[in-house]
Symmetry: C2
Subunit: 108 residues, 2 copies
DNA sequence: CGTATTGCTACGTTATTTGTAGCAACGGAA
DNA sequence: TTCCGTTGCTACAAATAACGTAGCAATACG
């Protein structure tokens, strides 16, 4: 079922500067994007399981984010179904893993 | 395959899960939130300067994010005016600073 | 006084997200 | 084969968030 993510060529806000960090901050600053990466951090999940993990977020947004994250090369759809992180995605996930510890101390 | 996602019953938006990481991911997953922290990483900026730095984002959202980030304790409004990171905010900023290097390698 | 900042808000338009329902395709069991 | 349950994914209208422009009161210069 490994299908190619369709290319919508959506203009990424903040990418006008040509600075990748802006595009990345914009991509990750969309709803559920960070959460999706977080939920996939340990193992691949089916779209349904991911939705459950993301607190029943609407499939519309999840699908949109998954497509964007796939186009970015962070997420992939495995042959046997189920979404998982690519090597790049796993690497990205690692970079904000310390956020977990920070959040624990933060509490709010 | 579909591993049963455990009992996550509530919306992240309300942060009723009791898990700080979810609240944090939600807060940072709002538009311009990450960008604001990023732009303040070196020095405080006035609201106008911040707006310029954030690619002329509308003051409505910026103000909303700044209020949220202030309530979270990441940003503060200095005596002489100008928004800056708190000690906590600086710490948070550090945790995703490696994102910069990652983005450079990513390029897309 | 006039002028130019500051942080901040009102408001109408547009874009995004939500929630619910449902699709076609595949697989296993009967 | 048919039935059932799953997969990834989409349609659609309503709700929400963001955008863009304008402008406010307060402060600080001159």
């Amino acid at each position: 079922m490994a299908k190619q993510a369709n290319s919508k060529t959506r203009s990424v806000r903040g990418s006008r500067t040509g600075r990748p960090i802006m595009a990345l901050l914009d991509l990750l600053g969309r709803r559920w994007a960070l959460r999706i990466l977080w939920e996939l951090r340990e193992e691949p999940l089916t779209s349904r399981a991911l939705r459950t993990a993301c607190d029943e977020a609407s499939p519309t947004v999840l699908q949109a984010r998954l497509t964007e994250l796939r186009e970015a090369g962070f997420v992939e759809l495995g042959d046997g179904g189920g979404y998982g992180l690519t090597a790049l995605g796993r690497e990205l996930c690692e970079t904000f893993m310390p956020l977990h510890r920070f959040a624990e101390r933060w509490k709010r």
